[in-house]
Amino acid sequence: MWNSFSTAGPLGITAEIITFPGGNGDEIHAYVARPVTDAPLPGIVLVHHMPGWDEFYLETAERLARHGYEVICPDLYCRYGHGTPDDVAAKVRSEGGVRDDSVVADCAAALAWLRARPNHNGKVGIIGTCSGGRHSVLVASRVKGFNAVVDLWGGGVVAKPEEATPARPVAPIEYTADLEAPLLGIFGNEDQSPTPEQVDIHEEALRQAGKAYEFHRYDGAGHGFMYYHTTMYRPTQAMDAWNKVFRFFATHLKA
């Protein structure tokens, strides 16, 4: 739960930018945040959204670390050059978006990086918002070794064939049979992507495939309702959702 630490001994955290071998062995940046402790730690791969490797994601990494996880948030746009997150995201947009295969490779490398940490407890989750939610489902389906996956309103998990692009050739729902990690899905009922109908389609695919999942849908919330830096923010729904994320990760990564 958020704001439920003991004042007798709350976890401090450290955070830094690292360079690590991402997909294809390319050296890319990542933001790493971890609790200050020698105790075994579960890991989380944090997958940023389309607006890029931005301040919201750096702060989200710190939030997750404060709840007891070693978090790595790779810069999936690192190969496009550097500048403000907005400028980099504009460049990526002009090139049709980052390729799914590139994201999968970078997140697989981030998983390997976490598993090699000296005080790793052997469990790793993956989470992202928006395109990062879609990518989280995609990565957890195509890369073995994740123990929990959280999709925060990932648009495009369900997509028509005609919506495929060179960068995003296959909708993640097509890989449902390959998903081994339990999935937590968080959605706003006023979202246009994913629409409630698309969430239903994804849920039915998971159910039919016998996958472990839990979906939560919030009234009065649309896309990005946990983005506290936007007018889309809905604090009541967002904090309830955060607590569901913390509980889900604790169940699957700390037990």
Binding site: A89, S94, C130, Q192
Partner: protein, 87 residues
């Protein structure tokens, strides 16, 4: 949603950025998440010169109604310019 709607056009002109005027080589027009306007989605227009760097960008976000009005205004001015015979 991430619509991934974006198209590029080579252009010739100049734009005013944070460091002053610079030559433009490309216009990208998209419709996707707004990054700064209060709309969830917006028409995203970037005038850029990536030969200079990612910072060489003049960015605009418009709602659809404004984009339509802007296009009409642009076409009207172009028509008047062509009719004037002035080059």
């Amino acid at each position: 949603m991430c619509t991934m709607i974006a198209t590029n056009t080579p252009i010739r002109g100049v734009g005013m950025g944070a460091d002053g005027w610079f030559p433009l080589t490309q216009a990208t027009v998209g419709y996707d998440h707004a990054t700064h306007s209060e709309d969830e989605h917006a028409v995203l227009i970037d005038f850029t010169n990536y030969d200079i760097g990612l910072h060489a960008r003049v960015a605009v976000e418009l709602d659809l109604e404004s984009a339509r009005a802007f296009v009409a205004q642009l076409q009207s001015v172009i028509a008047q310019a062509e009719a004037s015979g002035v080059r």
